[in-house]
Symmetry: C2
Subunit: 255 residues, 2 copies
DNA sequence: GTTCGCGGGATTGTCGACAATATTAGGCAT
DNA sequence: ATGCCTAATATTGTCGACAATCCCGCGAAC
């Protein structure tokens, strides 16, 4: 085999995506990954629940190969743990780790919003303001779950504006790991209202295209988020566990 | 199948590793992963070089399954790209992306050194100072490559002190992606000497157990690193490419 | 000369079977 | 009842074979 010194780039280069990330494969195999990931992130499994390849293959109607690949990916992604010859489990992130994740998230979001402030367009601002309006509606309706979804969308919109692939990818990843905790923070009384105000402040800072102000507004916001997270963790420590998918107790492994 | 509400933790829980990360499998399968990863990170392949599963299986003396799993992992890790039905290539990180990565690295290192300042022990400080001494030796010997290795070790030591698993993992990952660029930054004349001084400042700040001072020292250091990286990128744009593993030219794909 | 279509070869994706390993259950001695 | 050894079961890890897909070159039509 001749060894070329510099290999050619892929032939079918992407049509018009210069600095873009891997939109990943659209294989039938990888939608098994996507669905499994979704089920895990959205709480379809319990923490530490075993993920048996054969079962998943049936449940997701995919081959074991596909499941295996998905598990390897999810392991690398931090959503499951795999031990040799002992299979995979959905990874339980500890309280401490949740705080670590949030800590990293804080600084990444600051970095990102700073970039966003330098690139935000009029259209972007319009979209952000629309997001705010919809959030206000949810708040008025007393729909904290709906608000939470819009909240995530709001932040993702800022990531998109910032166009910082590296930070964006890391943030998305971290968020999916700690999502179980995010659920709990919703429950704090009055949090939604102040969150909305903080979001408004961020948008205004972005509108001024002021990186420092934007970062400050974001920091302010995230400081409260961290605070709320700590509150949620403490509350959970003193109260019966509540899980989105059912009642709570300790049960043995199936089988 | 009965559905337990909360699954049991793994039986053979780790002996004494509370908040620790996955030391990962020690399978024979996963050392294929490790070796492939090593070869990529240490420049055994050219950017964009095709990674044919069958070839790798022979080269690493492993089954195609193992290679496949390794490629999936490395894809998720950002070291290779995989396109459906078109195989894997070692991922080429663009100049822009290298800067993005460094940008994220800066803030993560700041976060970490801040933690380290609050936890550093006398033993840690002794080890750090020994690192400095050895770096000084390499500098005196005019051995920038050796210095670079110790440099990496120095930073990793700080990660260990900080004991921030999340940030540490992200940093390790980012570093492996941008390692090709790190090589070039070594070449800047006089950089090694100032780098050493900056490292000394970091150690002193850590010795004072002062988070703010430590972060400031680290920021100072990394500002220069980013500067050097930009210099290296510019230099590379105007000079013939130099690759650690061989001469430079453009050649076609093999076959 | 250029474009289009069509094999041929190379490579990946997937399935099934089997080996390797861990986990559980049962029996036996104490 | 407890603890230990062994058999049985469940599950993962690996291999080989084959189908699916892509890439490339060749030749025909225009």
């Amino acid at each position: 085999m001749k060894t070329p010194v510099v290999a050619h780039p892929p032939r079918r280069s992407s049509p018009a995506a210069p600095g873009r990330e891997t939109p990943a494969v659209q294989d039938r195999s990888t939608d098994a990954y996507r669905r499994l990931r979704n089920e895990i992130v959205s709480g379809g499994f319990h923490p530490n629940e075993r993920l048996v390849e054969a079962d998943l293959a049936i449940r997701l109607d995919a081959g074991r190969s596909a499941i295996r690949a998905a598990l390897v990916r999810l392991d690398q992604e931090g959503l499951v743990t795999r031990e040799p010859n002992r299979g995979a489990r959905v990874r339980l992130v500890s309280d401490r780790e949740a705080l670590e994740i949030e800590e990293v998230r804080v600084i990444l979001e600051q970095l990102i919003v700073r970039h966003a402030a330098q690139r935000v367009s009029a259209t972007d601002l319009r979209d952000l303001r629309r997001s705010i309006v919809r959030m206000r509606e949810r708040l008025a309706q007393g729909d904290p779950m709906g608000y939470s979804g819009l909240n995530a969308e709001f932040h993702q919109r800022i990531w998109a504006i910032a166009d910082h692939g590296t930070a964006g990818r890391l943030l998305a990843n971290l968020k999916s790991q700690s999502i179980r905790f995010q659920y709990r923070t919703i429950l704090r009384p009055g949090r939604t209202a102040s969150s909305l105000r903080e979001h408004e402040a961020i948008v205004e800072a972005l509108a001024g295209r002021d990186p420092d102000a934007s970062e400050a507004a974001m920091r302010q916001h995230l400081r409260h988020v961290v605070e709320t997270l700590k509150w949620a963790i403490d509350a959970q420590r003193h109260q019966p566990i509540w899980l989105p998918g059912g009642a709570s107790s300790i049960a043995s492994d199936p089988g």
